[in-house]
Symmetry: C2
Subunit: 143 residues, 2 copies
């Protein structure tokens, strides 16, 4: 791997970090922080998970996650039920009002995406998405 390639990858990463930073402000004004939102999203997208899987997926300390789930549970957005095949495990689920929250957060995230990427023409948009898919495929197959 050549230095020039590394440099270009890192330049892209700096650039894209900034974009993600802007996008990640979408929750401003909501009573949730980014970690809560990531957890809520993960629960919605992957129902039936235990804390272990969520922590793994989100690169989150299990203790930190535990507290975070407790808080969400206290607010009534999450419920936990024992797994019937493994007594240590908790199945984590969004409650109905948790799902409502998810949809609200989701809509607001969608709006942020429109703000940032919405200036492209239809053609450019499809082009960009194709590039994104290509990168994902290259890196996902690799790992």
């Amino acid at each position: 791997m050549r230095q020039k390639q590394i440099d270009r990858i890192r330049a892209f990463n700096r650039f894209y970090t900034k974009i993600l930073g802007i996008l990640n402000r979408h929750y401003m004004g909501s009573p949730f922080g980014l970690p809560e939102i990531r957890v809520i999203q993960d629960m919605y997208l992957h129902p039936g998970r235990g804390a272990k899987e969520i922590a793994l997926e989100l690169n989150m300390d299990k203790g930190y996650l535990s507290r975070l789930l407790k808080k969400l549970e206290e607010h009534g957005y999450v419920c936990r039920s024992a797994s019937d095949t493994d007594g240590r495990r908790d199945i984590i689920s969004l409650t109905d009002s948790g799902i409502v929250i998810y949809h609200e957060l989701n809509a607001s995230a969608d709006r942020s995406v429109e703000d940032i990427y919405g200036g492209l023409t239809e053609e450019q948009m499809e082009e960009m998405i194709a590039h994104m898919d290509a990168i994902s495929n290259l890196l996902a197959n690799d790992k």
Copy 2:
């Protein structure tokens, strides 16, 4: 902008956030945290900046940055000199040993990039970088 497009962009963003998260662990074992590193890098790449510009570029609170620079100054990695055209402004620079640190951090960041992206063939690598450039151009020209 269609919902499907938004969804695909967001899927990519989730995917790439995870990659950046892994890359951002490169500083483990160094006496610096990620914010320090980002500042050091910015100072190296953009000499002559004031705190204002750095804060803007890195999306960082000016108070937070102020303390962070003070700490780096105390350790001898950074020096500040008054601007001669604006008495409020400090010109921020890396000292020689700050530059040494930069190169060390830089080398370690390079190694992380190799770890993550290094599994691609030469051809795939060039392909991927071309996709990255394309995305940057689409978004940079837009904004």
